[in-house]
């Protein structure tokens, strides 16, 4: 368990302001934010490597704010692995054991097996691939049986083919009861690994919640931008109806009321096709403005009565519906796909 109580860290040019959050025992908790948001600094503060200017840090129910790092039982795995270059892989993994009373050799052997490091034990860290180094760093951190593990962007530096492997290892370690706090700038990782997530933007904790909620119902525009909710429109909402600029009127799932508020629609929720019937809820005639390749999928920008709506489609859908710039088509989304923000715009 990790508890942050009104934690502030002031590093001069860079500040984290009054963070409060609680990570439960055995939880896989994600901290996400753009690069330079102070995610690493937050982990270093929890590990005791940085002095907070205010607030309290609890680990396993114990106030550790004034304890040195070696007394906190918090393991930290850096993005660049930070393996000791003058020691072998095995010496790296066993480094922390000398400080543990009654080191558990079977536990270490189990880790070596789980992370498939048996054949690397004699090697020097400098001769290992990124994925192998990452696994050694994980084994070294877990060998001392920490009460929580902090991971600093462990996946993004890896070759794509190693990423899924590492995600599997992390899930297994978490399922075996380890509390994990992991920072990343990639929301895809959050979706595949995390139970709950905290979003940091501009030195402030913007939102904490379970991953699906933050993904579908971001708290504000900053979080929406970050989780990829591209279609944000100012509107006035009354009952089940949202009126947008330009006269477009959308049907919502539930009753709501606000004079001036922001609504958002995820691009994945935008649908196209002949089978959409015009005149039914939230289906409109539109025109394709542009198609931009985005990895495995395409980002398609539609013009609906003067409004720009971004959708995300697979190439199979583009072929089936014969989508190319200039084409007229029907565009729609479910009422449940519309998120009404609580804050004004």
């Amino acid at each position: 368990m990790i508890g942050l109580d009104d934690l502030s860290i002031d590093l001069g040019e860079f500040v984290l302001n009054s963070f409060s959050l609680l990570v439960d025992e055995g939880e896989f908790f994600m901290v996400v934010g753009p690069s330079g948001a102070g995610k690493t600094v937050l982990l270093e503060a929890i590990a005791g490597l940085r002095q907070p200017s205010d607030g309290k840090i609890l680990v396993g129910g114990r106030d550790v704010t004034d304890l040195p790092p070696e007394k906190r039982n918090v393991a930290l795995v850096y993005q660049d692995y930070a393996l000791f270059p003058h020691l072998s892989v095995e010496e790296n993994i066993r480094w922390g054991l000398r400080f543990v009373s009654g080191p558990d050799n079977r536990h270490v052997e189990g880790l070596v097996k789980l992370l498939r490091l048996e054949y690397l034990l004699e090697r020097s860290p400098e001769t290992l691939s990124g994925g192998e180094q990452q696994r050694v760093a994980l084994a070294r951190a877990l060998a001392v049986k920490p009460s929580v593990v902090l991971l600093d962007e462990p996946i993004s530096a890896l070759d794509p083919r190693f990423r899924e492997d590492l995600q599997d290892y992390l899930s297994r370690i978490n399922r075996e009861g380890m509390t994990i706090m992991m920072v990343t700038h990639d929301f895809n990782e959050v979706l595949s690994l995390g139970h709950r997530v905290a979003v940091i933007v501009g030195g402030f904790l913007q939102q904490v919640g379970d991953v699906k909620t933050v993904f579908r119902e971001p708290a504000n525009r900053l979080v929406a931008d970050f989780v990829g909710m591209k279609n944000l429109f100012p509107s006035s909402v009354k009952g089940r109806k949202a009126s947008l600029e330009g006269g477009l009127s959308l049907v919502l799932n539930g009753q709501k009321s606000c004079g001036e508020c922001l609504i958002g629609i995820r691009p994945e929720d935008v649908m196209i096709g002949q089978d959409l019937v015009e005149g039914t809820e939230n289906v409109f005639p539109g025109r394709v403005v542009s198609i931009i390749p985005r990895g495995m999928a395409f980002e398609v920008v539609f013009d609906i009565v003067g409004l720009r709506l971004t959708g995300r489609m697979l190439s199979s859908a583009l072929v089936r519906e014969d989508v190319h710039p200039g084409v007229e088509c029907r565009v729609g989304f479910c009422p449940g796909a519309i998120h009404v923000f609580n804050e004004g715009h």
């Binding site: 070696e70 072998s88 400080f99 400098e126």
Partner: protein, 264 residues
């Protein structure tokens, strides 16, 4: 010929001037030395005594510098603070000060008439014209060579390695001796060599603190002033041979260690 080299040959051409400038005079000394006299000076007790004195006093000075300079270098590498650049400039001052001036400054501090010197005299030490005087002079001129090298060596050790060791349960002293020091070793040893070499080659500061007992550079100067070039060159040749020998041995030792680390 490799294309990169064709692009760079002019740089080499310009640079070789300096390399020749170092090798030419030293080599010339070997060619023109009277090897008969060199052979006889290797049996001259005074010469051997001076050589040995140069070696061990410089080593003693370096030892003292390492004891106090290593913590200072670590602090400079890890801590940011106001006035850090001023402190670093102060450490480098001995490089700029003319060595005779350095000698006078150290003499004024440790002469028996000065409080510090008087204190040394009271506990039975002789701070002028003694081995201690030579060590004190060497220390002053050698400090920057060790501290700068050691600071850079510690810079080269990622603080993240130290951080990780702390989170694994190691206390600060443990991390310093088991992680920081071993990883900085190469740079530290090279600093020790530079500091020692500076001490062995020192003349100006030493001659003011202690004309006697004579170190090798003082003896060379003394023979030159008394008997001329012919009798000072053989000692110079010997001093160079001894220094180059030590230099090469230490370098090889350090690079051997490095291979060991990389080979794992």
């Amino acid at each position: 010929m490799d294309r990169k080299f064709r692009e760079r040959w002019f740089m080499l051409l310009m640079g070789s001037f300096l390399v020749v400038y170092i090798i030419w005079p030293l080599a010339g000394m070997f060619f023109r030395a009277d090897w008969g006299i060199v052979a006889s000076t290797t049996r001259d007790k005074v010469v051997l005594g001076a050589l040995w004195r140069s070696i061990w006093t410089a080593a003693a000075a370096t030892g003292i510098i390492a004891l106090f300079g290593t913590p200072l270098a670590y602090f400079l590498a890890r801590q940011e603070f106001r006035g850090k650049s001023v402190l670093e400039a102060v450490i480098d001052v001995p490089i700029m000060v003319p060595h005779t001036v350095a000698g006078i400054a150290v003499l004024m501090t440790f002469s028996p008439k000065a409080p510090l010197g008087a204190m040394l005299v009271r506990i039975g030490l002789s701070p002028v014209n003694s081995h201690l005087a030579i060590i004190l002079a060497c220390m002053f001129v050698s400090i920057p060579f060790y501290v700068d090298a050691a600071r850079d060596a510690f810079y080269g050790v990622s603080p993240r390695l130290e951080n990780v060791s702390r989170t694994l349960g190691a206390s600060f002293p443990h991390v310093f001796f088991r992680i920081s020091l071993p990883l900085a070793k190469r740079g530290l040893v090279s600093g020790l060599i530079m500091s020692w070499a500076r001490g062995v080659s020192e003349f100006g500061a030493i001659v003011i603190m202690a004309y006697h007992p004579m170190v090798a550079p003082t003896l060379i100067y003394d023979r030159f002033a008394t008997f001329g070039l012919k009798f000072s060159t053989p000692i110079a040749v010997q001093l160079i041979l001894v220094c180059l020998g030590m230099f090469v041995v230490l370098r090889v030792l350090v690079s051997g260690k490095r291979r060991e680390v990389i080979g794992g």
